[in-house]
């Protein structure tokens, strides 16, 4: 977990954040306007040199949730083995967060995956294309309002019969 001194520095620099702790994992929630600043601060001042993961949670129909999408950034300090989880919330329509490719190159494909499956736009991303699903796919299937069995994508192929093939 992150040291108390570093957490105090983070809270002093960003008074708007809230933080919580669960099983030695520290999580801070930051408004979306400050998320890029905070991540830059964590990288340059607190030594979090590795972006372990970027992912997303859809809180549609979630009990007590006020915002739709929760972005999750998992940071690692490879010198001290500290971890920090940064969260921010965005909403429909056009959920958008600033990209962090300028801070960590690893964010390129991670953000493309979040765009592919959740439809979160990353403003300033150099190459925001689908990465997992085929390019002609039109939906973002990990959203909670997307039906599990899809909208016919798995049936939309030509049929090859014995006499044709």
């Amino acid at each position: 977990m992150i040291s108390a001194a570093k957490l105090d520095r983070l809270k002093a620099a960003f008074p708007a954040i809230s933080h919580s702790e669960f099983r030695l994992q520290v999580r801070v929630v930051v408004p979306v306007e400050q998320v890029h600043q905070l991540l830059r601060f964590a990288k340059e001042q607190l030594g979090f040199d590795m972006l372990a993961d970027v992912t997303c949670v859809d809180y549609l129909h979630y009990r007590g949730a006020r915002d739709r999408y929760g972005l999750v950034y998992v940071l690692t300090n490879t010198q001290t083995n500290e971890r920090l989880i940064v969260r921010t919330f965005v909403n429909d329509p056009e959920p958008t967060v600033p990209t962090v490719v300028d801070l960590w190159e690893a964010a390129n494909w991670l953000e493309r995956e979040v765009w592919d499956l959740f439809g979160i736009r990353f403003a300033g991303h150099p190459d925001l294309r689908r990465i997992v699903l085929p390019p002609e796919f039109t939906a973002h299937p990990l959203r909670k309002d997307y039906p599990l069995q899809g909208r016919g994508e798995r049936h939309n192929f030509p049929v090859i019969t014995r006499s044709e093939g």
């Binding site: 085929p134 299937p141 599990l148 798995r154 049936h155 090859i160 014995r162 093939g165």
Partner: protein
């Protein structure tokens, strides 16, 4: 008409039957293994179960050299165009075994991304149930496919034609 005496080492048969006998005993499988069924497929090819006993040991990874496609594992919607292209690249006569629950029906993966049975999009000759099937079951499918080839195979591949282009079978005389 003169009656010709045949020596003991000459057999008279139909050419179709002879060609089918050759084909069924030298199937060259194309292993389209995408999941855990592929492990059982490898076990089938290995020494303990030894698919070579049935003449089907020459696994080739080039579809141009194969005549038996064994689809082992789930096929996702992104993979299905690849499967169809490989099937079209294989030369006639060719057969297809759908191995395991996922290839045959989608199995437990009833989701947007998994094709619910490859027989919706390519022809299938044999289905092997199981999750994954044991090598004995795959061997049984190969044996059954051999019986099918022997029973219906023709030298020109007439059994593969569309029903409208097949010649009607002569009605049996009472």
């Amino acid at each position: 008409m003169a009656i010709v005496e045949l020596p003991d080492n000459v057999v008279v048969t139909k050419l179709d039957a002879l060609v089918s006998w050759c084909r069924k005993n030298s199937l060259w499988p194309m292993p389209f293994a995408t999941a855990c069924c592929g492990i059982e497929l490898m076990a089938t090819g290995a020494s303990r179960h030894d698919v070579a006993r049935f003449g089907a040991e020459v696994f080739r990874f080039s579809p141009r050299q194969c005549d038996l496609m064994i689809v082992a594992g789930r096929v996702v919607m992104k993979m299905l165009p690849v499967l169809q292209r490989i099937w079209l690249q294989m030369l006639d006569p060719k057969w297809c075994i759908s191995m395991g629950a996922c290839a045959s029906t989608g199995g437990v993966f009833d989701t947007y991304s998994v094709v619910q049975g490859i027989d919706r999009f390519i022809p299938v000759d044999m289905y092997v149930p199981g999750c994954p099937p044991r090598p004995e079951q795959l061997l049984q499918a190969i044996i059954d496919l051999q019986a099918k080839i022997q029973a219906e195979g023709t030298i020109r591949g007439k059994e593969f034609l569309a029903p409208s282009r097949q010649q009607p079978k002569p009605a049996l005389q009472p």
